[in-house]
Amino acid sequence: MIYLDNNATTRIAPEVAEAMLPYLTKFFGNPSSAHALGREMKQAVENARQEVAELIGAADTSEVVFTSCGSESDNWAINGALATQPEKKHIVTTQVEHEAVRNLCQQLETQGYEVSWIGVNSEGELDMEGLRQALRDDTAIVSVMLANNETGVLFPISEIGQLVRERTNALFHVDGVQAVGKLPIDLKSWQVDLFALSGHKFHAPQGIGALYMRRGVDLPSFIVGGKQEDGRRAGTSAVPGIVGLGAASRLARLEDDHDTVLDLRNLLEDSILNEIPNARLNGPADRTKRLPNTSNISFEYVEGQNILTHLDQHGICVSTGSACHSSSHESSPTLRAMNVPYTTAQGSIRFSVGRYNNDAEIRETLNVLPGIIRKLVDMSPYEKELKALYAKKA
């Protein structure tokens, strides 16, 4: 199997599994217990918190609170920010957020909140002027992702943070789920109040996430119950997952695989764009504006779902930006916000490389892909358009 879907989820690192194992076997206590076993568990949780804090550049370890996933962190951040400022009914977010933010904000729109949805340009870059103008005195929260899950496009968080501070008293939430482990993050130097991350995106297991809350930002607990996590999040701590998240954070900080991932992604992207005439990049050609591991490429006038099925036959795992649900075929909101034409969005494939990929896997993918695309091109009724593209390339 060649796994090029690392933005969906990642393999648990062996080092992470090893760190977790004792907490799946002999250390089974409750960190809230006062006895020796409880203290052992508590220590493991605090060590992990330290690792996460270091990875994201938190000023203080206590700013990290463990949650069950990225979506919980995003939901908590937004709902919590609104709950602490009941007089403010305005939210600023973008048109390209992950569902955890987008669908929540859509729901809030039906509950009396006004949402400003900031757009992007055709390369997926944020409309900064639109954002500036949307900020108001009654804005409760600004929620913006650091890296787009589909295209890998990065938003200038430091710049946005400054803008938010200058113009409002709103809380600034960043969905960092797709960026953590792939980019250096330094929250103490950014004007960020809330920051969501998820373990399984960087080689920790699924089911563990965290919310960074800048000191002084105090959100009500999203889950009502006990006094865990300093009274900020109820529910018995998921110690094995937390230990895994700590180990994955340490690994991401110390084992620098960014260059390898970047090289593999570049090899894949360059070769596809050079060799396949109807291939087109979704996102800025300037790679410093994107995650080092992601390429979102459209194969014009063919269907992404078909490409995915064919690649799957060869054991190659990717994602498509288009999804066919019974009678409607929705291209992704991100690609729609970028104004990607339908016949282009329809054929979009997201390749996301990870630390366990190697050169041979990329070459094998490059070996298989052109034949698949050729087969679908030969089947496409858009013969004229494709003929023109292929003639231009030749």
């Binding site: 269907e303 779902q305 036959q313 089947m379």
Partner: protein, 201 residues
Amino acid sequence: MRRHPRALLVEILLSSAETLKEHFLNPSNVGEAGEPRFTGRAVSVSCGAVVQFSVQVDQAHNILQAKFRAVGCDVLISASSLLSEAVTGMSTAEAANDVHSQSFVEEFAEIDDNRSACVALAGSALISALQDYSNTARDEWSGDDALICTCFFVSEQTIEREIQNRGLTTVGEVTRVCSAGGGCGSCHQLIQEIIDSVALP
């Protein structure tokens, strides 16, 4: 024996997952049929899929080749491939009768699931190609009596007579009595015009 008109598309819809997958991975009859070629297209506004069928028809009105091109989901491609195989060798009337889509797309869509719309779309494209054939055949017909239904070779005279003798008032009644209009459906408008003209005082 004539099958129930819905049978073919239902059979395709109920094909096994393995059959559908095999036809998706290695579809039959991709491309354009030979001359004389008649083509039709169907587009789904809801999902953006496009499928194009072309048929080559001989003097005896048999389909020698049925070919397709498609951009759409995996099911659409499998269905187009299966359909092209199934209608090759059939007469145009048989194929149209088996696949006729317009009248039952909605009902058919209730049978199952999210795949019915995709299968029906392939059927619509084929019907559209058969209508292209019928319209051409009707235009080129050089007999004394105008040919209305090119699937079942029913002339204007026959239809007029049946309407008058039996007091028929709808296209459906005409089809039941003399088969006219029971195939691709391209002559429904013409039959309606005959009904209207006969009914005039």
